[in-house]
Symmetry: C2
Subunit: 104 residues, 2 copies
DNA sequence: TCAATAGTTCATTATTATCGAACTATTGTA
DNA sequence: TACAATAGTTCGATAATAATGAACTATTGA
């Protein structure tokens, strides 16, 4: 049984947030999540075409454990949701500001 | 002879910038640089009291190679200057936004 | 029950962080 | 001029973290 780890909102740290976003792949994942109403499955992470599933899974875990996304299992796939409200309550406006430059 | 490596402004990347700031020590260094008119020597990095010189030197190098600071030797000490204009020309407003939360 | 789909976990390798010790360069002083 | 003090870098080692491919698990549908 898979147990996903999600930090509480108040445990989201700035260094953790920046570290999770300090990777071009993860920036693209989060950026395209924001464009898709903040929600996507792992395999929808089309911005990363030639990427091994395990690597993708790893990136989603980094994002999850930094408090950037919430992952829930729905049927056979994972539903990943951007924790935009939680992040904004900790660091108002920061995520949008970063992602303004992250789409490239 | 010590040669410091500084990327050109146009070579500063978002992922590189975030990665360099994705560390509590470096956040504190940059944050306190901003408060001191964007300039400090390595040994002034008082926010990191019990830190080995070599570790401090390492962090300054990370910041330098990400394009966040410019280091120049002045007499016996290093003068580190925040490259605020260069960063703002690449990512307007981003650094200030991040550092708003970085003082902790 | 069996295959397909969607991801995770494991083991390995590669990076990065931290530290102490040794080194280099600049200054001040006897 | 030589010598110590100051400020920092570089090197080597160790420990923690990240990236990746191979093997595994869980859900769904035929």
């Amino acid at each position: 049984m898979v147990q996903f780890v999600h930090p509480f909102t108040e445990d989201i740290t700035l260094a953790g947030l920046l570290g999770a976003l300090a990777d071009p792949m993860r920036l693209r994942i989060v950026s395209s999540m924001l464009q898709k109403d903040g929600c996507m499955s792992c395999s929808e992470a089309a911005p990363c075409p030639n990427m091994a599933k395990s690597t993708l899974s790893h990136h989603f875990r980094i994002l999850r454990e930094a408090g950037i996304i919430h992952t829930g299992k729905v049927g056979v796939e994972n539903r990943n949701v951007l924790r935009i409200n939680d992040i904004n309550s900790r660091f108002p406006g920061l995520l949008e500001q970063i992602l303004k430059f992250g789409g490239n």
